[in-house]
């Protein structure tokens, strides 16, 4: 075989591939390092939905951003310029999303966020090609504030890491909380010892404690708080109580109230099938991140079914219609392409040997984010 036939065979092969995969999806997510559990759940939820749809015309390229903005930007450039993807998704962290999303949508790509929802992309910086399938960052904290008000907490102590999402969390909480904030502490990002903060909580007059400490920070805080003997009830967003973390916290988390847009006991057929099939395929319970990945893929599939990705206006309209069965029940986008949804109050319980969550109430109904009115598109 000479060089020419080899090149022809190659070109034929590529043409065959192109014909097979009509929509190319670039997924940049965190698969190594401290935050890998979140990215793995999003990826697994996303791929499960694709597999169940049986579609072969959606090709997914998955890359690991290592939770580093510079690497995420490099991967995005490669996906856009050499892989020629149509749709991007996958980013977990808001600082990475801010580095990648504005550039990607400006180059005409669609971006479907399965997690990060920074306020800068929800208000004035919203974009017709940017869709958030999870939540706007403030939402779960607003729900926590509403819940604290509902249980007649008059004095609360708030604790969050000293970085933009931490300050957004406190802002969101205060937006809906009607009592007094008697202590406000910002900790270092990645801090693992909370003895000093717990001592201040013990000596304060607060009757509840709101905290936003995602990932390992939350595990450390919960274990130390339980051991300190301080009995003030804790309230937090679901990020410190997801399925991946709870097993590492153990009894220390039992009974804690947290707010989430999803839980495995939301009663609809899609969710029941999702939880059962996820558990069967991966051997663990899904987290809220997995549900977000699953919903993102189903939104994409619904759009691919009714419109051609090469016709951006039609494809955008198909995404806006959000005609898919969500694990959260009915699903609708607001004017800024962020969900309008219920946010529930969950309680940490133990089912057999497994720690998990149970919905005990609804904190906010059909809640849209505070930045939507600023969005003009």
């Amino acid at each position: 075989m000479n060089l020419k036939t080899l090149a022809m065979a190659g070109a034929l092969g590529m043409a065959a591939c192109a014909a097979q995969a009509e929509v190319k999806v670039g997924m940049i997510t965190t698969l190594s390092g401290g935050g890998a559990g979140l990215g793995i759940d999003v990826r697994d939820g996303f791929m499960l939905a694709l597999e169940q749809s049986g579609r072969t015309d959606i090709e997914v390229i998955i890359e690991d951003d290592q939770r580093k903005p510079d690497i995420a930007v490099q991967l995005a450039d490669k996906m856009i310029q050499s892989d020629k993807v149509d749709v991007m998704t996958g980013i977990i962290w808001s600082n990475l999303a801010m580095a990648v999303v504005p550039g990607a949508v400006a180059q005409g790509k669609f971006y479907l966020s399965p997690n990060a929802g920074p306020s800068a992309l929800a208000g004035k910086g919203c974009h017709p090609n940017y869709f958030n399938v999870a939540w706007q960052n403030d939402n779960l904290h607003e729900a926590a504030g509403a819940y604290a008000t509902d249980i007649n907490s008059t004095n609360t102590f708030v604790l969050a890491p000293n970085y933009p999402a931490g300050q957004d969390a406190v802002t969101g909480f205060k937006r809906t909380f009607r009592g007094n904030v008697v202590g406000e502490v910002y900790t270092q990002l990645g801090q693992t010892d909370y003895a000093a903060e717990i001592a201040r909580i013990r000596s304060s007059v607060a009757d509840t404690v709101f905290f936003f400490l995602p990932g390992g920070m939350g595990i450390s805080f919960l274990k130390q708080y339980a051991d300190s003997g301080v009995k003030k009830p804790l309230i937090g967003p679901a990020f410190s109580f997801d399925q991946g973390i709870l097993q590492a916290v153990g009894d220390a988390a039992l009974g804690v109230k947290n707010t989430s847009q999803w839980n495995k006991d939301i009663d609809n057929p899609t969710n029941a099938a999702f939880v059962a099939s996820f558990q069967e395929k991966y051997g663990r319970l899904p987290s809220l991140y997995a549900s977000q990945g699953f919903d993102t893929a189903n939104l994409l599939i619904s759009a691919v079914e009714s419109a051609d990705v090469n016709d951006p206006d039609a494809f955008r309209a198909a995404l806006e219609a959000a005609d898919f069965k969500s694990t959260r029940g009915d699903f609708a986008f607001g004017n800024n392409h962020h969900p309008i949804q219920n946010i529930y109050v969950r309680e940490v319980i133990k089912e057999g040997d497994v720690y998990t969550n149970k919905i005990v109430g609804t904190a906010l109904e059909n809640h849209a984010d505070a930045y939507a009115p600023e969005c003009r598109m």
């Binding site: 390092g33 559990g37 900790t187 693992t192 001592a199 201040r200 013990r202 274990k223 130390q224």
Partner: protein, 305 residues
């Protein structure tokens, strides 16, 4: 701030310092005796925590878990000394940093491969859990008191080992003149492996003790490693006494800075700005301390000039 809260914060600072000492002691011994910068010390801390969590999960015994953490970290330490570190003694510090940084990556991804990406569970044993009431009505977690106790015991043991035993004499001799003790017929490579394994075991013990109140996950060692380096620079590289004093200074500065600085700023600033500025300045406080110590004593508090 009430006196009780202040005393509680001092205890917190001491506990944090004692934990840093366990890390810093190994680091400073290895640097003092072999002149080696070991960035992989944080990985040994992680190995200790993972070994403890696995054994505690299998047997339910915290005592066995601690023994496992010592054994696993010492074995990993001896293994990397024999295979990798040994080739680095004659190289310059940059080569050592590069090679031990590679070890961090290998250990992190290896641990992820073996245990997965989700954090492991390690619990405070029931007989050490919950708070105790100290004289003066201070409620303090028993486990943190136990960490202070273990740390001080280890410190006393190390001083005795170095001052009173044959291997201690060899370590001290190795610090002052490496060629000479080899010439005197001491098996220097066995000594190096022993010191390295001892330092690794201390890091593993710290990882297991701290793993019970924090999160046992990949990458848990690196933040502690940075603080341990600050400690040995403040204390004077190669000095165990310096490591103890430096660790307590860093622990107290960090804890009290986190508590007092926001309170100071709130006297003349809005509460939200004060807590944010105070928190930022508190995270710098130990580095300011280090800079201050180095201005006064360029080789650290107990370092040899």
């Amino acid at each position: 701030m009430s006196l009780i809260l202040f005393i509680e914060q001092i205890l917190n600072g001491v506990q944090f310092g004692v934990m840093l000492f366990l890390m810093a002691a190994g680091l400073t011994l290895i640097f003092g005796v072999m002149g080696l910068i070991n960035l992989a010390h944080g990985s040994l801390y992680m190995i200790g925590a993972f070994a403890a969590a696995s054994v505690a999960g299998l047997t339910g015994s915290f005592g066995l878990a601690l023994i496992a953490s010592l054994a696993a970290a010492a074995a990993a330490g001896a293994l990397i000394e024999l295979t990798v570190i040994r080739r680095l003694y004659d190289r310059d510090h940059l080569d050592q940093v590069l090679a031990t940084f590679a070890l961090i990556l290998i250990f992190s991804e290896g641990t992820r491969w073996a245990f997965g990406s989700f954090p492991l569970f390690l619990e405070i044993p029931p007989y050490l859990s919950g708070p105790v009431t100290l004289p003066g009505g201070i409620e303090y977690p028993l486990y943190r008191l136990a960490i202070i106790g273990v740390g001080l015991l280890v410190a006393a043991g190390l001083f005795a080992l170095i001052a009173r035993t044959r291997i201690g004499i060899q370590i001290r001799a190795g610090e002052s003149d490496r060629e000479m003790i080899a010439a005197l017929g001491i098996n220097i490579s066995a000594l190096y492996t022993t010191v390295f394994a001892l330092g690794a075991a201390l890091a593993g013990l710290a990882g297991a003790l701290i793993g019970a109140i924090q999160s046992v996950q990949v990458g848990m060692g690196e933040p502690v490693l940075i603080l341990a380096f600050v400690v040995i620079v403040i204390g004077g590289i190669g000095s165990i006494k310096g490591a103890l004093v430096g660790a307590l200074l860093v622990g107290l500065t960090d804890t009290l800075g986190r508590v007092l600085l926001p309170a100071v700023f709130s006297q003349f600033m809005a509460p939200q700005a004060a807590s944010s500025v105070g928190a930022s300045l508190a995270s710098m406080s130990i580095y300011i301390l280090m800079a201050g110590v180095l201005v006064m004593r360029p080789s650290g508090l107990f370092g040899k000039a």
